[in-house]
């Protein structure tokens, strides 16, 4: 606890417990790193104070000599030689502490390795996330996008890859980041300890819209999680009222080439799976909140909202757009 003290001060200073902050750890991996950060702050803070005291004192002598006239403090090179050894000793002790601390945190992060955790495959795309859960019962993959759900307390293993360029998966409140590299798959364990909404963001520069590649993360009770996963596995709802049904047929014409809607003929793979898009909190990788209005705006002019995105503006009149949005809004 002691070593968290300065961090506490720091925290209070910046008032920074965010939904996307290593300083508000809510998972085992992030906890280990937060403690390590505390240790770093203590050691490095002490070192900085020492250096500044030394510097300040030697300058203070200049000032004092001006007022006291004679140079009262004189120090021999012999004494300074001894100082070199003392300084080296202090530095070595400090460094050893930090290196050991770092190794311990590293071990703590990887403790769960080897146990069989639930596997989730996350694939980075310019500029969104494809997310696939392996159904523990059937072994089949349940696909969704841009919103990750995790059961609290358990360890989930993320298998990270990329479909195009390098991205980096980072949900700081839960764990550190790990790159998503084409041609490779990296494994990252997440063990969230607190329920709630968190935010992740792509951390490796991946082109024009790197800034708009965020990820919503919901940590929930295992029961809620299982219910959610089961719902995700179901095919899409069939649209009820007239306008949504019209939207569905428009969608099948204009959008199905790029998007999957489970249970329909839409199975394009270029864009995110939209089977349950309306259950998500935001659209276009955290760029807009999920509302009817925003859906319409996004369909009408994706390039204005997220310049450079791979989704083109499909020519449609406002009524049609409204219909498609209504259809999407029904995809719970």
């Amino acid at each position: 606890m002691m070593k968290r003290l300065p961090v506490g001060v720091l925290l209070a200073l910046a008032g920074c417990s965010g939904v996307q902050s290593p300083l508000a750890p809510s998972g085992r991996e992030a906890d280990a790193l937060f403690s390590l950060f505390g240790l770093m702050m203590v050691v490095c803070g002490a070192v900085y104070v020492l250096v500044m005291v030394g510097l300040g004192w030697s300058l203070w002598r200049v000032y004092r000599r001006r007022t006291v006239a004679a140079d009262s403090v004189s120090i021999s090179d012999r004494t300074l030689d001894r100082g070199v050894w003392i300084a080296a000793g202090i530095i070595i002790v400090g460094l050893t502490t930090l290196i050991i601390g770092s190794f311990i945190a590293d071990r703590a992060m990887f403790r769960a390795r080897g146990r069989d955790a639930m596997l989730v495959r996350v694939t980075g795309h310019q500029w969104w996330w494809r997310i696939q859960y392996r159904d523990p019962a059937t072994g089949s993959w349940i696909e969704t996008a841009n919103e990750l759900h995790l059961p609290v307390g358990g360890t989930t293993r993320m298998s990270l890859g990329s479909a195009d360029v390098i991205h980096s998966f980072w949900v700081p409140n839960v764990a550190g980041k790990l790159d998503m590299i084409p041609g490779r798959r990296n494994l990252l364990d997440l063990t969230p300890r607190r329920e709630g909404w968190f935010r992740g963001q792509c951390a490796e520069f991946c082109g024009l819209q790197h800034a708009h590649m965020a990820l919503d993360v919901k940590v929930e009770s295992p029961a809620a999680f299982n219910a959610w996963l089961a719902a995700q596995a179901r095919p899409a709802m069939t649209p009820g009222n007239g306008i949504a049904a019209r939207g569905a047929s428009l969608f099948a014409g204009s959008c199905a080439a790029c998007h999957v809607v489970g249970g329909t003929t839409a199975h394009g793979r270029a864009g995110p799976d939209l089977t349950h898009v309306a259950t998500r909190r935001s659209i276009a990788a955290g760029t807009l909140a999920m509302t009817r209005n925003n859906l319409q705006g996004w369909i009408a002019q994706p390039q204005a909202i997220k310049p450079g995105t791979s989704m083109p503006a499909v020519p449609m009149n406002p009524t049609d757009i409204n219909a498609v949005a209504a259809y999407l809004e029904g995809l719970k």
Partner: protein
């Protein structure tokens, strides 16, 4: 023996350049070349600083629309590439080019024409990047351009090629300068300046030159591979074709990490000289500082993986690089200790150069410590690619290299111009820059810890990042203002400054022995060195040798270890060939952005220019098969 005045006249005649444009294009005077480097680099620093200010403006409020994402990406790419490749490294070399012969009491570098070639090629690199920018072919993928993003599939057009080719230019220039500096230091030390009596500045220049020689080939190789992937369909970095994306990162950082110490180590040389002179005692722990520089230089080649902790390499390896990276704190810390100990036991005089040293220590140590934090492979998973890293490298680059550079500028300005800079305005610039910098960049640590990634052109409201970003912007603006005061002071003092005399600070090393501004031949005699601080021999006259020619360009070559005189070497005269060679090389590099054939065709004029350059001027033969017949 000639009277001193005649001697000067004769030397002046021998070493002067032709007047006018021809003299400008053909000069091989290391001081003129270095001055060009410095002026060009300062101008670029200003331009890149303006880009930074623009980025700060964009980031000062969430969802700002001042910049399009494209413009923002271009801005940080141009800012980072310019600051590192076209400002920091060249400035450090330029100070070496300018000072090494002076500190050795020599009349020029070992390879005078190579100095000229190096500058012209550097200028080619500058023009490549900035003229391309004017033509809207600006690189937009950062100062390191990882494939596949920079590969043919995701970056059509020529933006990435411009970046890669600009690197080739500046690296060839830097390599040429480094060989030149290293050989000059090894073979042209004045009699008596054994390795043990070499000032720290020269050690720093020697080691960073050697580091350049051993690291820059890596980036030449990797950018060539990138260009090949883009142009002739090789598959070095394409996983689908049996290549590997991480190969690029390994090679890049094998260069990239030593690169930052290539910038930092010369700065420790400036600091050592300034601390010595202004503490008015020989530097405490000379050998500790030199050993520390060597240790940093050697360790630097074993750390590159700490830029790749998040790519998912084996943990054991990562932990090794953690320990190795942190080990750098030992030599770095001992250096800091020696400088403080020198001030402590000396009689410090707080003129502007010394103020910059103080600003350096207070700022650099923060950056060094944040470096130690990111050196932990575990913790780096939270810190990498966030504003914490942006804070780290600006603290070490600006605090650790640019502040000492400003100090060095103030310190050696009177030697170069014969005038002193205003102390009053110097203090204002110091306060504005150091204060503004810390105000602007300290908050970035918090931004990173609060989750703000780097290289984002905007961010949503409600993340809690707004206020800190505003403070960062304000601080940056203040430091730019300080930069203008600094430059204004330098310009004003150039014409109006107080006359400095030859040795205004009573410096410890040989550059202060000659006239200010330094005449084309530097020193009239070859000094004889008996201590680490040859100018501090108790007011006795400077001991020197005579005998190096006055009527032709000649320099003294000595032995590597103990600087015993070996022979007198003819020193190259002014020549237009380095300039023409640089133009030929520039044409070839630029052409090769568009077609691989440029390499073959372009090598013809290059060969011609090089033959012109090295063609020895001697009589036609009177013997052998092709003897001159009457």
């Amino acid at each position: 023996m000639k009277a001193p005045a005649d001697r000067r006249l004769q030397l002046e005649q021998t070493w002067s350049d032709k007047p006018g444009l021809w003299g400008f294009l053909t000069t091989v005077d290391h001081k003129r070349i270095a001055a060009r480097y410095i002026v060009t680099a300062m101008l670029l620093m200003f331009l890149a600083g303006m880009l930074a200010l623009d980025m700060r403006w964009q980031l000062s409020v969430p969802e700002n629309t001042r910049m399009t994402p494209q413009l923002f990406n271009e801005s940080f790419s141009l800012h980072g590439s310019t600051m590192l490749f076209l400002v920091s490294v060249p400035l450090m070399e330029a100070l070496g080019l300018w000072l090494v012969p002076l500190m050795l009491g020599q009349r020029n570098m070992a390879f005078p024409r190579l100095s000229a070639f190096s500058f012209w090629l550097y200028l080619g690199g500058v023009m490549t990047l900035w003229v391309a920018h004017a033509l809207d072919i600006t690189p937009d993928l950062g100062w390191f351009e990882y494939p596949p993003l920079s590969g043919p599939s995701y970056s059509p057009g020529h933006r990435a090629d411009i970046w890669a080719q600009m690197i080739t230019f500046t690296e060839v220039a830097a390599l040429a300068a480094s060989v030149n500096i290293a050989v000059t230091i090894l073979k042209m030390r004045p009699p008596g300046m054994t390795l043990a009596r070499m000032p720290v500045f020269l050690w720093a220049q020697l080691i960073s030159s050697l580091m350049t020689i051993l690291s820059m080939p890596a980036i030449m190789l990797v950018t060539s591979m990138l260009i090949a992937d883009r142009m002739v369909s090789t598959h070095f970095f394409a996983p689908a074709g049996g290549g590997d994306v991480l190969l690029f990162q390994h090679l890049f950082w094998f260069f990239g990490h030593p690169e930052v110490y290539i910038i930092f180590i010369p700065a420790t040389g400036f600091v050592s000289q300034i601390v010595e002179t202004f503490s008015r005692r020989p530097l405490f722990g000379h050998s500790v500082v030199v050993l520390a520089i060597m240790a940093i230089g050697a360790l630097a080649f074993g750390l590159w993986v700490h830029h790749m902790f998040a790519v998912g390499l084996p943990r054991l390896g990562n932990n090794f690089y953690t320990a190795a990276s942190m080990a750098i704190a030992l030599p770095a810390g001992l250096q800091i200790f020696c400088w403080i100990a020198t001030m402590w036991s000396g009689r410090p005089w707080l003129a502007t150069p010394m103020l910059w040293v103080i600003g350096f220590i207070a700022t650099f140590v923060i950056g060094g410590l944040s470096g130690i934090m990111t050196a932990s492979a575990a913790l780096d998973l939270q810190l990498t690619d966030t504003y914490f890293i942006v804070a780290h490298f600006h603290y070490v680059l600006i605090g650790g290299a640019i502040f000492p550079l400003f100090g060095a500028f103030c310190y050696w300005y009177p030697k170069a111009t014969g005038r002193l800079m205003s102390e009053r305005w110097g203090r204002w610039a110091f306060v504005l820059i150091v204060g503004g910098f810390n105000l602007g960049f300290f908050p970035m640590h918090f931004l990173g810890l609060m989750g703000m990634p780097r290289r984002v052109y905007t961010y949503p409201p409600g993340m809690g990042w707004d206020l800190l970003n505003q403070v960062a912007t304000a601080g940056s603006a203040i430091s730019v203002l300080g930069g203008l005061v600094f430059v204004g002071n330098a310009l004003w003092s150039f014409w109006r400054g107080e006359h400095a005399g030859s040795d205004p600070w009573r410096g410890s090393t040989l550059e202060w022995a000659g006239l200010s501004p330094t005449p084309p031949y530097n020193l009239a005699y070859t000094p004889a060195v008996t201590s680490l601080t040859p100018m501090w021999n108790g007011g006795d006259p400077l001991r020197a040798y005579d005998g190096i020619a006055l009527e032709r360009r000649e320099v003294l070559i000595t032995s590597v270890a103990d600087a015993a005189p070996l022979y007198r070497q003819r020193s190259a005269s002014a020549s237009v060939w380095p300039f023409l060679s640089a133009i030929a090389v520039t044409a070839m590099f630029l052409g090769s952005i568009f077609t691989p054939w440029a390499v073959a065709i372009g090598s013809v004029p290059i060969a011609a220019a090089l033959i012109g350059w090295f063609w020895p001027q001697r009589e036609r033969t009177m013997t052998g098969l092709l003897r001159k017949r009457r």
